[in-house]
């Protein structure tokens, strides 16, 4: 079976700016695929290239095995959901949803039937004759999705559609998007700068920075095995400890650091020399028991509900963050005290300085 979407060495140049540089990846049919990166990393440009609004400077894009080079956005088997949603404010909801069918010459009665069917799918039955302005943010969101699904696209492209919603609604819509995607079986390509959004919803995530795809992988893989310092720093919280690699044996690196000798998994392409050791806050356990230990002076402890974050300063003036489960808070080190945090070598990774 061919991939749903294939990108081969896609590059986009605007004048002197290299917005997308040599991007290649495949998205499988029925996959929820996210492109995660900070604003300005080229992810929206990449999405617009897939949709057909922009022509890549070089490279090829295949959807369902067919080259898209000669096809405009209205001829591609994709549908896009815009950041602003771009609902047509002067058309009632059902006409919005059926607009793509109208463009395909479907008769009015059939359009209405299809719109009502989609309204049921998004749990907005009976809202067909309202105007988009009369709906709440979350409802408009769902109408935009229904409008895109109405043309039965192979691929749905979503450009940060949740960014305008408040936190509670955003979390609710995440689950809804995810279940809608599984029910319809349509391939989703989802753009976001919010890493928790990408991790929570996606089957796989591509992390982008400065026009380059840093790593493609399942959320767990990105989190546990970041391939580059950028991924380690951008996906989730992490502590970066500067160090020098002494030796690498059987995938385990032994490094010199201001905290003494430490061991951790060696990242790919790691060689002797300057590097950084990355360890997640939740991998740090107060106490001295483990094989590796970091020491810091505790400055404050922020209670976040399910856990608390202990912020410390190391002797060389770097920040250190450790997560402590609320149930263990009684045993937490005191503020102002010097504390040691141990971690298992399997929970830390050493990557070359990039």
């Amino acid at each position: 079976m061919s991939h749903s979407v294939e990108l081969h060495q896609v590059g986009v140049t605007f004048g002197a700016t290299r917005a997308v540089d040599d991007v290649s990846f495949n998205v499988e049919g029925g996959e929820f695929f996210s492109i995660l990166g900070p604003s300005g990393c080229g992810k929206t440009t990449l999405l617009r290239v897939i949709a057909g609004f922009l022509h890549p400077t070089e490279g090829r894009i295949l959807i369902g095995g067919k080259d898209m080079a000669a096809l405009g956005p209205n001829q591609r088997p994709t549908a896009m959901i815009f950041q602003s949603l771009a609902l047509f404010p002067l058309m009632p909801v059902w006409e919005n949803i059926a607009f793509g069918l109208e463009a395909r010459g479907v008769a009015k009665a059939e359009r209405r039937r299809k719109a009502d069917e989609l309204l049921r799918l998004i749990a907005l039955e009976g809202f067909g004759d309202r105007m988009p302005g009369e709906l709440s943010g979350g409802q408009r969101q769902r109408v935009a999705i229904a409008r895109a699904l109405a043309v039965e696209p192979q691929v749905l492209l979503l450009d940060e559609p949740l960014s305008a919603l408040d936190l509670k609604l955003r979390q609710h819509m995440r689950a809804e998007l995810r279940s809608l995607q599984k029910r319809t079986g349509v391939t989703f390509i989802y753009i976001t700068h919010d890493q928790s959004e990408a991790l929570a919803m996606s089957d796989r995530v591509a992390v982008m920075s400065a026009g380059v795809v840093q790593q493609v992988g399942a959320p767990r893989e990105l989190y546990d095995n970041p391939a580059t310092p950028f991924v380690a720093g951008f996906v989730g919280e992490t502590n970066a400890i500067p160090c020098t690699v002494k030796r690498i044996e059987a995938g385990i690196a032994t490094v010199d650091s201001p905290h003494g000798t430490l061991t951790a998994r060696a990242g790919s392409a790691l060689a002797a020399g300057k590097a950084k050791l990355y360890v997640r806050p939740e991998a740090l356990k107060p106490g001295n028991a483990a094989e590796n230990a970091l020491s810091a002076t505790i400055e404050r402890i922020d209670f976040e509900g399910a856990f608390a974050l202990a912020h410390g300063a190391t002797d060389d003036g770097k920040r250190l963050i450790a997560s402590i489960a609320s149930t263990d808070l009684a045993a937490a080190p005191a503020i102002g005290a010097r504390a040691r945090f141990g971690f298992d070598r399997a929970n830390a990774v050493v990557l070359p300085d990039g």
């Binding site: 609004f53 209205n74 950041q83 002067l90 607009f99 793509g100 109208e102 409008r147 895109a148």
Partner: protein, 293 residues
């Protein structure tokens, strides 16, 4: 009004209101009341003004209703003005769309300047330029003859000449309202429509034009009113067969010496224009306040 007083205080606020009031009363209300007064009185020698025969009647207006040639010219002026508005719209809409959605700021500046510069000279001179261009032995005929598109010179003066001169004269009144309204359209609406498979025609019909409706109605109303009240273009670019109603009003005032009948004709034109405008706005479901914006 309370806002005006709050901002400028009692003295200055009252002064502003008085100025606006004086303007409205002196420049708008009084001339129109005088015109209605003239229209309803008979044309009498000075000695009989104020005498027993100086009474209000509809005679002047009925004269127009019974005078076949004038009546025909009147209705022709109305539909020809509508045609001017339509042609101007067809010229301006693509330009306004391009300016508002596609042109770079530099391109827009150059085009708008190019369109505005001709309006730095007087309307009569601008129309004279068309008079020269469209002359029987003028440049347009020479150009078309040299290309072999026509075999002998065309007499452009007449309906075609008047239409061209007016469409040109009122282009900015159409362009700017449409440009302003299209500019406020979110680009992603057009992209969304395109992405859903809509043709260019459908994007305009279903998304752009409904959004720009108020601007389009404003431009058409302006152009229609200006065309119906135009004098220079028909006088210079017209032919005996393309007389405009304003020319007949002019004749009553300055050649027939009958100000009362001229005023009655002008009144009828004014009322009909108002009716056309209000009906148009009603049909387009645009309110007068939207036009005023």
């Amino acid at each position: 009004m309370a806002e005006l007083y709050r901002r400028f205080g009692g003295g200055l606020g009252t002064l502003f209101l008085a100025l606006v009031g004086a303007w409205l009363a002196g420049m708008v209300l009084a001339p129109n009341v005088m015109m209605i007064d003239y229209a309803l009185r008979p044309n009498l020698p000075p000695s009989q003004i104020g005498g027993p025969s100086d009474v209000y009647s509809l005679d002047n207006i009925l004269y127009l209703a019974n005078e076949g040639v004038h009546r025909a010219i009147f209705f022709k002026t109305v539909w020809a003005s509508a045609l001017v508005a339509l042609v101007t719209f067809l010229v301006c809409y693509p330009l306004a769309f391009w300016l508002a959605q596609h042109a770079t700021p530099n391109q827009a500046a150059v085009v708008l300047l190019g369109l505005t510069i001709p309006f730095w000279i007087n309307e009569v001179l601008r129309t004279l330029a068309w008079y020269i261009l469209l002359a029987f032995r003028g440049p347009l005929n020479a150009f078309l003859l040299s290309l072999g598109i026509i075999d002998e010179p065309v007499r452009w003066y007449g309906d075609g000449g008047v239409l061209a001169g007016m469409a040109y004269a009122y282009i900015l009144f159409m362009l700017f309202p449409i440009y302003n309204s299209i500019e406020s359209l979110d680009k992603s609406q057009i992209e969304a429509a395109r992405d859903l498979g809509a043709s260019t025609w459908r994007i305009h019909w279903r998304v752009v034009i409904p959004h720009a409706k108020a601007g389009i109605a404003t431009g058409c109303v302006f152009t229609f009113m200006l065309a119906a009240g135009s004098y220079v273009a028909p006088a210079l670019l017209g032919a005996p067969g393309s007389r405009w109603f304003t020319e007949i009003i002019y004749n009553w005032f300055f050649e027939g010496g009958d100000w009362n009948r001229g005023a009655a004709y002008a009144l009828v034109l004014l009322v009909l224009c108002l009716a056309v405008v209000l009906v148009t706005l009603r049909l387009a479901r645009v309110s007068l306040t939207e036009v005023a914006k």
